[in-house]
């Protein structure tokens, strides 16, 4: 069983169960539809799960989950499949804007409890 929280404070978010951890492949993203919001989920090699916006801020297409997952130093990253900007999966910060004005990704908190992945959206009182 893996229990993990990527956001320290659960207050102010509503949790939504999305899928099983098993259904996510290591180092390959997956898109999820959470209450109508497109989210990109990434399961890293060490089984952490990160959630960021699916919308690629540079191209405007919903494709972030199709990028290559890797590391920069010890930072887990994803590279946009469209124009290859690189982002920190933990913070959404743009690490390599490929010559453009940097734009970051919105991140979402993730819980993995009993092999079930939940994503927190803003709003609500932390209820699950």
């Amino acid at each position: 069983m893996t229990i993990e929280t990527t956001a320290p404070a659960d207050l102010g978010v509503t949790w939504h169960e999305v899928c099983s951890l098993k259904s996510l492949s290591r180092e390959r993203g997956a898109a999820a539809l959470v209450e109508g919001t497109q989210v990109a989920l990434f399961r890293t090699f060490d089984d952490h799960v990160h959630a960021v916006q699916q919308l690629d801020p540079f191209s405007g297409a919903n494709v972030m989950s199709r990028g290559i997952v890797g590391t920069r130093g010890s930072v887990p990253t994803v590279a946009s499949p469209m124009y290859k900007q690189v982002f920190d999966l933990r913070t959404g910060a743009c690490l390599d804007p490929v010559g453009k004005e940097p734009r970051s990704l919105t991140t979402y908190p993730v819980h993995v409890v009993d092999g079930v992945v939940s994503v927190g959206l803003p709003g609500g009182q932390g209820a699950r």
Partner: protein, 859 residues
């Protein structure tokens, strides 16, 4: 640039290579805009690379011979007048009259009129079928004549070249390239009498005869005989005759000094405008440069001294005191594929010279070094058959060689040693007069970190390219010396280059990314190294690209085996080998496109691209296509794309071989081969080259006797024409040759390096690759053959395999928690009866929108 309201007027008469150099150098140095220059160019085109004229025969376009950047002609201070000749010079009024009736005033005038080809006064010299060899038009006329006559006569043609010098052998090479069986007729007792000695001439003769060119030395031509106004043969002074359908005169050039003569300028005894060491004529405001200049009592027919003269004149125009330092008449050429080089005092004319000669008639090599009487100082040399030592030896002329001179003549780069410690003032690139010091300086002070930078900065190696190996060694040595590590590292995760990584993975039999990065890298990879390893593993045939961990290595398009478009939808390209498709096949594709509402377009690779497919539709689209008999076209992969073909001998009136049949066979053989970059092939059924095969990585062109194969072509950002690798191969040899070329490329090229750049960067260039592929010089031929056989046997259609694997198919779901729910942000408008992604303003402005392409398109 400082604007100068009243620049002085410079008129340059002549549009050759030296004229171009002069304008180039002036515009580079005259930053204050002191001079405005007008170039009168008699030929209808801008200056071009006359030295490379013969390559026009192997299929190059006139444009390929263009010199340097064309932006020079956009410079407001440069006026290029094409197709305009100077007709008279009036030195008193300082004006030039032109063939289009204008009169141009000048402050300074440069004569760069060059030479014309001399024609000996023999009877029959004006018959149709008698040519000279000087301009693109000469060459084009010759080619047209040969091709038309061959069609008319319906038999192979015979040709003769009068003159066995440099130009004559060039012309013989050109005729041979046109499939004309050729005889070279030389008056002197040996070939290239001005460049090589008897021993070298003999070696050259043997090598050239081995290529099927006949050679007659010590022979004077007395007459060209004709029939119906057309060349039919030749007669010689000794009474012999020779049948010939075409004759090329290449007996030398004469300076075009008529303008100067009429203007009353001093001309030399044997022609040429007499100039002093500053290149000034007897009139101080008139200069002469290049072949028309008679300097030190003679005219020089090589481009390098002409370039030097151009630089001298520019220096003088800008108030400098430059003088012509004397000509380096060194030459290195590849004539008919035979290396010939001659440098320094090649004929040991200095008293007390010693000659060290190595002559190996079996290997077809003749090499001579001329050294001082103490055998220490190099004075000159002749290299025939193998001129690889030329680049290292020529800069050493006049310097101490070090060691036994004979050691420098041993094959396989035994003379490579001096490169590192070449003296600063030694000329490395004689075309552009670049010294070893200048090259080193471009690295140490100029901040250049690679060959491309050094070429751009110093122009070394940008003309004939023969010095590039030496330049590369100098640059590498200098970089290493200055502590810059010459890094081949792929990225922060791997210190190895792609080629090194390929070898390691292959030799150690590694099959997963985790194993590879654990043993040879660090971290968990990135978007640089992961696709490289994905490609290497795929090249080595380790299984489906989307199986297990390998799925996480694939770049954007391989990721879902389709091509990502700007809105996040994909395009789909089924394979259509050789561009041949049945009506049923076309209908199936059309039905799929219609049912899924896809935008369809014909690609440049003779197949059909279907756009607007959503990720979750891809498996269903491919189910339909696979059931209709199609397979993946790998349009998404760094892999074989297509083998383009013309219709060939099965239908075409002109085709000589079955190009479609061969293209299909090649496409089926190499389909799915993963490589450092995409690979495109082309097959043309005759020399008309309708398949544009020379724009491909591998191009095959049918001949009467088999196939010619060209390599290293591409379109794209830096278009390149492929270069001839081998001629007249039978189909079996052709396939083995391509097998080895491709597999060698797959193993040794850098990441994202196409074949053109790979060939250029390969140590020894195309010649070395030819040796590996055709002569197995590295002893890896059988290994490459096995690897390709393994690829052919192991091929499976990636899409058919994916459709059979539920785990792979699961990843095509649009959302992990709603796998069939379309992305509702994909919206389209109709244009010319097909969908295209809506623009931002159409989305917000309420234009007609189609949510998803599967809804019916309004027409």
């Amino acid at each position: 640039m400082v604007d100068n309201p009243t620049p002085r007027q410079l008129v340059v008469v002549g549009g050759g290579m030296v004229a171009r150099r002069l304008v180039d150098a002036l515009r580079a140095r005259d930053t204050a805009g002191q001079w405005a220059v007008t170039l009168l160019c008699e030929e209808p085109r801008a200056p071009y690379d006359r030295v490379a004229l013969t390559s026009y025969f192997t299929g190059r376009d006139p444009e390929d011979l263009a010199l340097g950047g064309q932006e020079l002609w956009d410079d407001p201070l440069v006026t290029l007048r094409r197709g305009v000749a100077a007709t008279a010079v009036d030195r008193r009024s300082k004006t030039v009259a032109t063939s289009d009736g204008r009169v141009l005033p000048y402050d300074s005038l440069v004569l760069a009129t060059g030479s014309y080809a001399a024609v000996p006064p023999v009877p029959g010299k004006d018959l149709r079928g008698a040519f000279v060899y000087r301009t693109i038009d000469d060459v084009a006329d010759l080619r047209t004549y040969v091709e038309q006559l061959r069609t008319e006569l319906g038999r192979p043609l015979r040709g003769a070249v009068v003159g066995g010098g440099l130009l004559g052998l060039e012309a013989a090479g050109a005729l041979t390239a046109l499939d004309v069986s050729t005889t070279v007729v030389e008056f002197a007792p040996r070939l290239m009498p001005l460049q090589v000695d008897d021993g070298g001439g003999e070696a050259l003769r043997r090598l050239i005869e081995a290529l099927g060119v006949s050679v007659r030395t010590g022979t004077a031509t007395s007459k060209v005989t004709g029939r119906l106004g057309r060349v039919a043969g030749m007669e010689f002074a000794d009474g012999d005759r020779l049948e010939a359908d075409v004759v090329v005169f290449a007996v030398g050039v004469r300076p075009r000094d008529e303008l100067a003569r009429e203007a009353g300028l001093e001309v030399g005894e044997r022609g040429g405008v007499v100039v002093d060491e500053s290149c000034a004529t007897s009139d101080p405001s008139v200069w002469a440069v290049g072949e028309v200049a008679c300097i030190g009592g003679r005219c020089l027919g090589l481009v390098a001294p002409g370039y030097t003269m151009a630089e001298v004149v520019v220096d003088r125009l800008l108030g400098g005191g430059g003088t012509f330092p004397g000509a380096d008449l060194s030459t290195k050429l590849k004539l008919l594929g035979v290396d010939v080089a001659s440098f320094g005092d090649a004929f040991a004319s200095e008293p007390g010279s010693l000659e060290v000669v190595i002559s190996d008639p079996v290997a077809g090599v003749y090499k001579k070094l001329v050294v001082s009487d103490d055998a220490r100082t190099l004075r000159g040399g002749i290299l025939v058959g193998d001129a690889s030592a030329y680049a290292a030896l020529r800069p050493m002329v006049g310097r101490e060689l070090g060691g036994d001179p004979a050691a420098h003549l041993l094959p396989e780069g035994a003379a490579a040693a001096p490169a590192g410690d070449l003296p600063e003032d030694a000329t490395v690139c004689s075309c552009n007069n670049v010294t070893a010091g200048a090259i080193r300086c471009s690295v140490t002070d100029g901040g250049c970190t690679d060959i491309a930078g050094v070429k751009a900065c110093t122009r070394a190696g940008t003309s004939c390219g023969s010095c590039l190996p030496l330049v590369k060694r100098l640059v590498t040595t200098e970089l290493e010396k200055s502590g810059v590590e010459v890094s081949n590292a792929l990225c922060e995760h791997f210190d190895l280059s792609r080629a090194q990584l390929f070898d390691v993975v292959r030799v150690q039999g590694l099959t997963t990314f985790s194993e590879i990065i654990d043993r040879h890298g660090r971290g968990r990879g990135c978007d640089i190294c992961k696709p490289v390893i994905g490609s290497i593993l795929a090249s080595l045939g380790t299984g489906h690209i989307l199986e297990g961990e390998r799925a996480s290595l694939q770049d954007t398009n391989d990721h879902v085996m389709a091509n990502l478009q700007k809105d996040g939808s994909y395009s789909v390209v089924p394979r259509i080998p050789g561009g041949e498709v049945t009506p049923e096949g076309l209908i199936s594709i059309g039905e799929v496109a219609k049912d899924f509402g896809l935008y369809t377009k014909i690609t440049g690779g003779q197949r059909i691209d279907l756009f607007g497919a959503r990720i979750e539709q891809l498996p269903r689209i491919w189910r339909r296509l696979v059931d209709a008999g199609f397979e993946s076209g790998h349009a998404y992969g760094k892999s074989l794309r297509t083998v383009k073909s013309c219709v060939g001998s099965t239908w075409c009136r002109y085709g000589v071989q079955d190009s479609v049949g061969l293209a299909i066979a090649l496409e089926l053989r190499y389909r799915g081969l993963r490589s450092p970059h995409k690979i495109k092939l082309g097959v043309s059924g005759c020399a008309r080259e309708c398949a544009e095969a020379r724009g491909k990585d591998v191009g095959v062109i049918a001949t009467d006797h088999g196939w010619n194969v060209y390599v290293g072509g591409n379109g794209g950002f830096t278009p390149r024409h492929a270069q001839l690798l081998a001629e007249d191969l039978d189909t079996e040899t052709l396939v083995r040759t391509i097998d080895r070329f491709l597999m060698y490329y797959v193993r040794t090229a850098d990441r994202l390096q196409r074949t053109a750049a790979w060939v250029e960067d390969h140590e020894g260039g195309l010649d070395a690759i030819r040796a590996v592929v055709l002569e197995d010089s590295l002893g890896i031929g059988a290994d490459l053959d096995d690897a390709m056989a393994g690829h052919v046997d192991g091929y499976e259609d990636e899409w058919a395999a994916a459709l059979d694997d539920p785990e792979t198919l699961r990843r095509f779901g649009s959302f992990v928690n709603a796998p069939d729910q379309p992305d509702d942000t994909l919206v389209y408008v109709s244009e010319r009866g097909q969908p295209r992604p809506a623009t931002d303003s159409e989305r917000t402005g309420g234009a007609v929108l189609i949510a998803g392409t599967t809804l019916e398109v309004r027409r």
